[in-house]
Symmetry: none
Subunit: 222 residues, 4 copies
Amino acid sequence: MNATAKVLEPRWERRKDARPGELVAAAMDLFIEKGFAATRLDDVAKRAGVSKGTLYLYFDSKEDLLKAAIREGYSEPLHHGEQVLASFEGSAEDLLRLILKMWWEEVGATKQAGLTKLVIGESQNFPELARFYHDEVIQRAHKLVSAAMERGIQSGEFRAVNLPYAQRIACAPMVLLMLWKHSFACCVPNTVDPQEYVATHADMLIHALKARPGEDPGRGDK
Amino acid sequence: MNATAKVLEPRWERRKDARPGELVAAAMDLFIEKGFAATRLDDVAKRAGVSKGTLYLYFDSKEDLLKAAIREGYSEPLHHGEQVLASFEGSAEDLLRLILKMWWEEVGATKQAGLTKLVIGESQNFPELARFYHDEVIQRAHKLVSAAMERGIQSGEFRAVNLPYAQRIACAPMVLLMLWKHSFACCVPNTVDPQEYVATHADMLIHALKARPGEDPGRGDK
Amino acid sequence: MNATAKVLEPRWERRKDARPGELVAAAMDLFIEKGFAATRLDDVAKRAGVSKGTLYLYFDSKEDLLKAAIREGYSEPLHHGEQVLASFEGSAEDLLRLILKMWWEEVGATKQAGLTKLVIGESQNFPELARFYHDEVIQRAHKLVSAAMERGIQSGEFRAVNLPYAQRIACAPMVLLMLWKHSFACCVPNTVDPQEYVATHADMLIHALKARPGEDPGRGDK
Amino acid sequence: MNATAKVLEPRWERRKDARPGELVAAAMDLFIEKGFAATRLDDVAKRAGVSKGTLYLYFDSKEDLLKAAIREGYSEPLHHGEQVLASFEGSAEDLLRLILKMWWEEVGATKQAGLTKLVIGESQNFPELARFYHDEVIQRAHKLVSAAMERGIQSGEFRAVNLPYAQRIACAPMVLLMLWKHSFACCVPNTVDPQEYVATHADMLIHALKARPGEDPGRGDK
DNA sequence: CATGAATGAGGTTTCATTCAT
DNA sequence: GATGAATGAAACCTCATTCAT
């Protein structure tokens, strides 16, 4: 293994352990950028710096690669959120504000935000994927927000809103902002400032939830 | 194919000018049902009862057909909303509730709701389409909601919220419900009742907006 | 449609009715020549003078094309043989000799003889095909030979051999000659003269079957 | 992987020189089972318990492996047959019957029978292989049968048939039975009993060959 | 206008072969 | 010697688009 040999750089390199992650990362980038159908495996391979065939050493099919990308997406920030929920000791309002802030910072502002668009767009073509995403991502996110709201209701800080629906409505603007960032944001001039958006949402949400003496205490669970 | 045979055949005849509309309708159905990439022009033609070649008499390409479908989608309900806005004379709260109700009934509950998902999903591949949708659909919807909220602020009925953002946040749950209906709704058991969802949203929104004596009047336009 | 236009020869021509037959013929040639796996649809298309896509207008898959080729193969000569069997009025020996002669002339000497090799080679990969071939080709051929032998046994012209087996043994040399022609014949110098081969087989077969006064009349059906 | 670990590991070790044989055996099994094209070297390696790369230490290519498998196939039974021929002292009829019996027991009934089908199927793609098989297997088998028949003719036990052809015709049913076993036998219900088949063939063959006083002595060598 | 047979580029997937370790 | 990750050239198949009829 002399210097001369080194100059002829090897046609390929062996990196078994690092590979799957790199491939998924490359695939995720392109799926997010172009959508599932418009992403060619050629391009995924090229971006990952491998040949097309290598993809099939680690994944059974294009769909399998998509699943891996989705799976990879949100587990970390969700886990973080759950930890915060468990240890937080302030008011429900502060907890809710914190969750929304983290949501944006750890998910919305990252490229993974694009996965949500992806899953929504492909849910009909891959119902199994949609179910997985629903169970592993949506449900967990909903539980986080639910728990924070429930805590406020229990303590009398919030009104007794119809939780299963109110929680969805609390999440909706966050999700839509993520979608916006990965759809219209690129092609329209008038852009949205996420900070301001999230702040306004938090304010309105708190305002909508706050219990006030002598007022209608909310719809409750119907 | 002689004259005699001809006489027996044409029991009824297609109205020539109705064609493009039928083609767009067929395309819209399939685009919504399967997504852009997964829709084959063969199937569009079959559903419209014409040959594949006929599509190209009226549309330049598959993308062109998509544009036409998008264009067709929401003009009517938006127009209706604008008329209501112009003529409505009740309170801002009632106007806002009415707009949300109409949104769901005339758009969300119809199959066209699926177009929103479609546009979001394809926005990167067809920026021009995204721009069109933004200008012709989103902006108009935003203006409707904005106007209703503005009216309440002017009259002192609502707090002086940050309108450009507050209006987005008011719309978000509606949009997300439409997306839900065309994505996860099909593949997960736990379903959402749109009536309850919209009602909860309206209540929370009004609650968030209502001015109350001696309270912070809101963030205003910063 | 003037002469000038004619010079620019059309990219393609419409020949819906003629096409399937041409495609099957081209496919059969190549399947016989190279085997199923080694035949590329590209080449089939090229030989048929069409594009690759055209194949898929008429056949669902490569396997489907193979089935069509097999189906096409022997129906005519078998039908002819059955007609001869029904109308022949000479001795059983003459009938048997005639059938063997026709077998060679109408099947063995034609390119379709190669189909037999094909089916045998692919029978494991396509059991359904093998079953079809067995039922529609082998069984019919066996019935022809069986009937001729049976006729001789009934009339006392032949010994009472174990018909189901004897008939297979009568066919075997014919089948093997077909296989030989499409396998070793091309690559070994020492060639076989089919005429002489068939004649020798006929003689030996008749000799084996002929009843002779005062002799063991054969094994019968065991 | 330190020395300590090494000590525990090697409970048994492969005999280095046995390798090629194991590889060929694995390849033969799979070639017979699935055909040449449908056999993947991955599977061959897996069955042999080695890595894919190892195959290329012993064989240049897939074709080379096929050749080795073919080469391996019949040398032993052929050798046995030749020994029997040299030492047999009974009648020609008994010799012929013995050869057919051994053919079935030592070749036809074993899995190697499938090689014949393989070679026939691939003969066009690999003419060199076909030539090898012809020279090393077919010719030797033919010589065995020829010799037995020749012995009978010389002794007056058999008619003076056209030997080069008669011998082929004597072999054909045996070969076809082997092919049958590896093609249609698996996919059609109506199965053939090899014992009865071989017995019937032997009887008919002897009957066809036996000289009888006062009869046509056969066609001779034309 | 309308048809639908034909096209052919381009997609995913496979697998014999290579070669750094 | 042995490994198995990596390669890349095809292979089959799809489908938006064209154009002779």
